[in-house]
Symmetry: C2
Amino acid sequence: MIVLRDIIGDELRRTRQYQGRTLREVSSAARVSLGYLSEVERGQKEASSELLAAICGALDVPMSTVLKSVGEQAEQAEERQATTQASVVVAA
Amino acid sequence: MIVLRDIIGDELRRTRQYQGRTLREVSSAARVSLGYLSEVERGQKEASSELLAAICGALDVPMSTVLKSVGEQAEQAEERQATTQASVVVAA
C-alpha cells in the first residue's frame, strides 16, 4: 500500500537537505519541535494541514510544489507496484 | 492559509459525486464510518494515510490521481491568494 505520510516525509526531507538546512533550523522557522519534524520526515507521524503549511513556509516552498511532487512520486510507486504484481502473475 | 484537508475533502467529494455514489456506498466500500467520511469530505477531519488509501480504493481511483489534482488546486488557491494580496497592496 502507498502511504502518503511516507511520501510527504521523503519530499520534505529532500527539500530541506537540498537547501543544506538542518532539522533544527527548519523546525525553529516552522515553530514545530525538532522531534516532531524528524518524525514527519521519517513518515512516523501524520503532519496536520496546519503544520504541513508551517513546514512548507519554513522551507519557503509553495505547498502546491510539494503536493505535485508527492503526486508524481505516488504515481511512480503505483507503477512499481503494478510491475511487481504483473511479475508475480507471470511467475505463477 | 491553504488547508490541505479542505482541498483533499473537496476532491474526494467531487470524485464520489461524479460517480453518482452516496456517502453510504463509499464509506461501506472503504470500511470507514459514514460520519468519518462525511467529516473528511467537509475538511473537518484529517484523513490518515491508511484511510485516504482506503477511500481512494473504494472510489477506484489511484491515490496519485487525487494527489496530483490536489496539487493543482492548491496551486490555483495560491494564485488567487497572491492576486488578492497584490490588490491589497495596490489599494493601500
